[in-house]
Structure formats: C-alpha cells, structure tokens
Subunit: 188 residues, 2 copies
C-alpha cells in the first residue's frame, strides 16, 4: 500500500461490481472488496459509506446533470422538451460507463433491497426535475406530471440500453421512448 | 374479550391510524394498538403480519380492482383508456374510505421507510397494469409506458384528493390529471 495508487475509488467500484456479480451482493463483504482491489477497508470507507453506496454514489451527479440541463433549456422550451433535454444530457456520462451500468443493473435486479433503493433514487430524480420545472414557472400538477412522465421514459430507455448490447445509443433510445409515450397518451 | 366483537380488523386499523397520527408510526407498538382497540395482540397478528401491514393490506385489493378493470375494458379501447378505466375503478372503494386514506397518507409522508414501501407498492401496481395490457396484446414498451403514465396520473390525482377535503371526487380528479398529462406530453 506504500505506492501511489491512481483512482482507488474506481478500483474499489470495479472490484465490488465483480464480486457482487459473482457471489451476489448479500454474500460480499467490504473486506473482500478492499482485498480484491488491493486496498484497505479504511480506504474503502474513505470513498463509500457502505457496500450499497458503491452502486448509488453516482445518483447525485446524475440529478445535478439533469437539473442543470432543465435550467439551461431556452425559456421558450415547453416543459416536456426541457425534460427531454435533461434526460439526453445523461447520455455522454452513461455511454462512457455502459459496461459498468449493465453489470450494476443486473446486480440491482437480483436484490429486492437494491431495487427499492433504485426506486427511491428515481423518485428523488423525479422530484428534482419537478422542482426545476417549477423554478421555470411551470405550475402544478403540470410540473410533477411532466417530470414523472420523463422518468418513465428514462426507465424504459435505460432498460433497453442495458439489456441489449447492440441497441442504439441512450439519447436515441430516450427520443424513441418519448415519441412512444406521446403516441400512447395522445388524445384521439 | 369474551363478547363477540364485530370487525376486529377495522377496529385495529382505526386504533393504529389514531396512534400513528398521535405518536408517530415508529413510537407505536402492536401491544398499544391492540389495547387501544380493546383486543389482544394475538388477534392483531391474526389480521396483520406486523404494524406496517396495517397501512398496506389494501394494496393487493386495489391491484386486483385495477387489473380486472383493464381486463373488462372493451377490446376496442386504446391502452390509455383501459388504464384510465382501471384508475377510475378505484373511486368507489377509496371515496368510502376518504378519512382513513387522508390519515394514512399523512402517516406515510412522515416516515422515510413507509414512503419507500409506498413507492414499492406503486411500482408493483404499474407492473401489474403493464402485464394486464400485454395480455390484451399491447406490445412493449407501449405497455410499460402507458402503465407508468397511468400511475403518475393516479399519484397526482390521489395527492390532490387527500390534501384538499373540498376537492372534487377521485374519478373526476383522475380524468383531470390524465387530461393534463395529455396536454403536457402533446406533440407540437
């Protein structure tokens, strides 16, 4: 441990994803993750509060990206277009981490507690988007409905993106899903 | 306890809602709920697995109601109209329990674990609606998007209904919210 080690957070994350995939989240300890990464438990806890946090540390960053994109949308943009811009803004970050994202999703899908945590994260994301829309002057319930619809679009697009290695890129899947939402909810 | 007691489940529920409202969910014990209802703990556990279950026992019934309504919708009904029918079908049951529903919502809003449980319940409801749509021949992702949009509409309508004692009835609020969702997602 005496040598300088670049990116211990990234190494801990890779080690955790590998062990969670191999043994299951519940059967993996922090000590094992640290050992697998060639680091100490002390270092682990400098980066993550607990072993669940390894899977969710990116959530505030994602939320910040989305909220900034809503804020940056032109004043003339309709609420749904501001939300679409927010969802698409996550593309570059997530595309770059596609393999980890796919591995992470399989780990979450296999564990009820992690699925609950993911739902809480998505609900918080919807709340943050609704708040950003209200600050643009969008009233209620339009702000909440637009944000919730946006998160539904994101979930569907994300699920297709992680489950199909050959799928189109995430921003394109988001645009497709939004188009499908607009088709299924269209007034006749 | 020797006398015949009608509806011990209803009495336990009323006692639990009263105590959760007064002292907080976390500060109330099953023994206190049973005593407040004039019943034994043993009777409590005949009706509910634990004190959280008092707040969520109705969920499978609600889900059953919604799924049946989707199944009963005319074959010619568009997916969103089948979902709207499912949401409105909950009206009579919920209108009848409006005071309990309002009390229950305040208890849930005050406790992070209960809010998580509510999210899980709503996600399960969305999953059941999507399944019912697929059995009508609706493809993916249309089924999931329609179901998720429906649950967003339901949440918004339900929140208005429980927070405003003078609000319109629930089916009307559901129709209003669906109209607003259609307006915010409309293609321009």
């Amino acid at each position: 441990m005496g040598r300088w080690q670049p990116d211990s957070q990234g190494r801990l994350e890779q080690a955790a994803l590998a062990l969670y995939s191999e043994r299951g989240f519940e059967n993996t300890t922090v000590a094992e993750i640290a050992a697998h990464a060639g680091l100490t438990e002390r270092t682990f806890f400098r980066h993550f509060a607990d072993k669940r946090e390894v899977l969710f540390w990116g959530a505030p960053m994602l939320e910040g990206l989305m909220v900034s994109a809503v804020e940056a949308a032109p004043a003339s943009a309709a609420p749904i277009d501001a939300v679409a811009a927010a969802l698409e803004a996550t593309g570059p970050l997530l595309e770059e981490r596609r393999d980890s994202a796919r591995q992470r999703q399989r780990i979450i899908d296999a564990n009820a507690d992690l699925r609950e945590r993911e739902l809480v994260k998505l609900a918080s994301l919807a709340g943050a988007l609704a708040g950003a829309l209200r600050r643009r002057g969008v009233g209620e319930p339009a702000a909440t409905l637009t944000a919730e619809a946006g998160i539904a679009v994101f979930r569907v697009a994300f699920a297709r993106w992680v489950s199909d290695p050959k799928s189109r890129d995430l921003p394109q899947l988001i645009r497709d899903s939004l188009g499908e939402l607009q088709a299924v909810t269209a007034r006749r």
